[in-house]
């Protein structure tokens, strides 16, 4: 059966190519890795989302291309109740699911699809909750949706109401995330009847701008533009992901014209890519932050002056040059500059070893010995934690602080660094999920995260009050001043040394037009065009 459907999809694709004749526009994207599957909800990796949720699916609300602004998607409009506990969504009519070689939809998108897509992740007794062995809904659980949701009600075929247990302003942004992609309940019913539930992860059906055609494991993914897409047919006809894991090779493929867009160039190659007359290199600050978190529960790091002094001892520019090789920008706030509510008024601790030394002396600290924890892995917000730790160690030595660098295996590192009695300051970072400041400030610095993701073990009432209040306000305009104030408080209290935000580069052929870099880090090809 599988052979027949694959043959059919090959035939379909060939027919499409033939039908498009010379005018078919194909965009080849050299992706950095293989998707784990094509059902986005059980996964957390951006590589998987780029290949699944972004081209194939839609959500009730969407992030506007190139921004973190939430705009209508499959829901035309929504309204919140006065108490912030109910959100009612009016669904778009006439939205078509993909007609593929393995499924022909008999109806348009409606409320049943919304209920199905969320219930399967939420209800443990839902027939699709464990549709394949070991499936886990990491993001749905991670965004605390089970505790947040009280009910999802189908008011009518085109109206759905979400009832919450508590007011939560970032809820709307959560619905634009990949795990909230809307799948076809009709397709699921067919797979269930055929006893082939796991195919939902291999042969996806969505409403998105591109429909899935074929995947050759670890090699090539093929999509074709969805001709009945509610947002209008795409300008490119065929989208191909050529999986190329090695960054240097990916760039060579781009230079040789074998692909049009290739992400994550090695920093050393950026200059040569910029010099290539056939290529454009776009750049943007990533939605992330790399930091050094002091343990504010342990002396002498419980003193603001000590933390401030250490922050002033760190030469960030040297770190940006040596560790990020230019692909980073100095961080002064705990949220990145591309995020709404970023407070540009805050003033960073200036690099001044002499003043730092004096501050430490004034605080009665002498001969301080401490540990710096260096992550054992590379992350966009910290490409080389060991080198970063060594630079900080040298900076601290200049102000008379002796630092020892420690490290553990990654799983261990994450676990041990959570301990409230942890000895030392931890290098770590965070990449945003939904473009909401709450996703940084509450997750990483909130009181409930102490002993968990709050590595500074910092629970400071004025800050906590601000972020809790902001969470309950209905509009971003109302929330913004509170977050701006929270960043000011954070800077004064200095629970972290904010180090850097990575700069993301995206080299592409000059033939590609209208590509927008996504501050959330996904790679989207809807709305993109290519010259023939």
């Amino acid at each position: 059966m599988k052979r027949v459907t694959t043959l059919a999809s090959a035939l379909l694709f060939t027919t499409m190519l033939a039908a498009g004749t010379a005018s078919a526009k194909t965009l080849v994207y050299c992706s950095e890795g293989s998707p784990e599957g094509f059902d986005p909800a059980p996964y957390t990796a951006g590589t998987t989302f780029n290949a699944s949720s972004r081209p194939i699916y839609n959500r009730l609300v969407e992030f506007e291309r190139g921004t973190t602004k939430v705009i209508p998607g499959l829901a035309e409009s929504w309204e919140a109740s006065a108490d912030g506990l109910e959100f009612t969504f009016k669904l778009r009519k006439g939205v078509k699911f993909h007609t593929t070689s393995y499924f022909t939809p008999s109806r348009d998108f409606n409320a049943d699809d919304v209920i199905f897509s969320f219930s399967r992740q939420w209800k443990k007794d839902h027939p699709w909750n464990q549709y394949t062995a070991g499936v886990a809904w990491e993001y749905f659980d991670g965004m605390d949706m089970p505790a947040l949701l009280k009910d999802i009600v189908k008011v009518d075929d085109y109206t759905v109401k979400f009832v919450l247990n508590r007011p939560e302003a970032p809820f709307i942004a959560n619905l634009a995330m990949d795990f909230a992609s809307i799948l076809s309940a009709e397709y699921a019913a067919k797979l269930e009847a055929d006893g082939k539930k796991d195919m939902i992860n291999q042969q996806p059906v969505g409403t998105g701008p591109f429909m899935f055609v074929d995947y050759q494991k670890d090699a090539v993914i093929r999509y074709h533009a969805h001709s009945d897409y509610w947002g209008g047919k795409q300008q490119i006809d065929d989208l191909i992901f050529a999986i190329t894991t090695d960054a240097a090779v990916r760039m060579q493929k781009l230079k040789a014209g074998e692909c049009h867009v290739a992400p994550y160039p090695p920093p050393a190659e950026i200059a040569s890519l910029k010099a290539d007359p056939n290529l454009d290199v776009m750049e943007q600050e990533g939605l992330n932050v790399g930091y050094l978190a002091y343990n504010t529960m342990q002396a002498p790091f419980d003193k603001v002056e000590v933390r401030k002094a250490l922050n002033m001892a760190i030469n960030k520019q040297a770190i940006l040059d040596a560790v990020f090789q230019g692909a980073g920008s100095a961080a002064k706030n705990p949220i990145p500059p591309t995020m709404w509510s970023y407070n540009n008024e805050t003033v960073d601790d200036t690099y001044d070893p002499e003043a730092a030394k004096k501050m430490l002396a004034d605080a009665g600290v002498s001969d301080l010995k401490m540990k710096i924890w260096a992550m054992p892995v590379q992350r966009p917000y910290n490409p080389d934690a060991r080198k970063m730790a060594e630079l900080i160690q040298a900076d601290f030595a200049k102000v008379g602080v002796g630092a020892e660098i420690v490290s553990y295996e990654w799983g261990e590192y994450l676990e041990r660094s959570k301990a409230k009695d942890r000895d030392g300051a931890v290098l770590l970072g965070w990449t945003g999920d939904n473009g909401d400041p709450d996703n940084f400030l509450a997750v990483l610095l909130g009181c409930s995260a102490v002993g968990g993701n709050n590595r500074a073990q910092w629970c400071y009432k004025p800050f906590e009050d601000l972020i809790q209040k902001a969470k309950t306000l209905p509009t971003n305009d109302q929330r913004e001043p509170l977050y701006a104030e929270a960043q000011k408080v954070f800077k004064e209290q200095a629970p972290w040394a904010t180090i850097a935000h990575s700069v993301v580069f995206m080299p592409m052929s000059k033939k590609v037009s209208n590509y927008k870099m996504d501050p959330l880090g996904s790679h989207r090809f809807d709305g993109v065009d290519i010259a023939e």
């Binding site: 090959a10 990491e138 074929d214 050529a242 799983g411």
Partner: protein, 336 residues
Amino acid sequence: MLRFLASRLLLLVPTFIGISIVAFGFIRLLPGDPVLLMSGERSLPPERHEELLRQFGFDRPIWEQYFTYLWKLLQGDFGISFKTKAPVLNEFLTLFPATVELAFCAMLFAVIFGIPAGVVAAVRRGSVYDQSVMGTALVGYSMPIFWWGLLLIIFFSVTLQWTPVSGRIGLVYFFKPVTGFMLIDSLLSGQKGAFTSAVRHLILPTVVLGTIPLGVIARQTRSAMLEVLGDDYVRTARAKGLAPFRVIGIHALRNAMIPVITTIGLQVGTLLAGAILTETIFSWPGVGKWMIDAISRRDYPSVQSGLLLIAGVVMLVNLIVDLLYGLIDPRIRHGR
């Protein structure tokens, strides 16, 4: 011959069990809880962490986990990948033909160029030719694969544009894999230009992966030939007035082949190891790249079963090599 085969097959059983223990234990020796790694910076609530450990069976004693694994193996169940949630055996079978195709071509390349180079070097011992062949072989043997691959890509693919940078076939060709071997599938597809495209894509990876075996085989052939060429029967054959081609090509080379075939057999393991790097450089969708990915994610089922399957293939190749000795050397066949 049958007894020889039976004794060889019997030996496979303890080897297989040994490998299953090593494969099972090896990944668990690496520090790192797969559930923690899966959640990364986001972290999981402790109760969810426990639940997942239980779901994957990691809460049970290690020996119990091993025997469950072994029992499932005997039933043909190689487990489900943590990452893709797909059966490990299916993933292996999908990717393995690509590795075999590449390894086979690399070995063919190494044998076709390595044996004649070694023979001629032995016959013209001490000549400039001998020294340059052996020097080149040494360089090839010591070549860092990653650097060599990138160098060839930059020169042949980017500068000269003679070969594609990576992949198995041009993206314009799209057909259903029948055998998984691109050379065969491209022919079966009937699409014009598909086979040529597949061959062009194979050239650089074949050269890169075949370079080390080529060096080893050339050196091994040379030394084996030198030994044989000094033997009495070769002198007798020459004295009889046989044509040099017959003396060297039939009398000497056949006897020199035993150590060469052993080397070729041993190189299969090296090829699979080299394939990991070659596959990464050339975006070749084979088992080498898949294994590395599985190890870094602590995808226990993929690592333990993948290693076992790869080891099984290496054992099979070694068995075939052993049987080949029998064909070439009757003394082995008759147990003498």
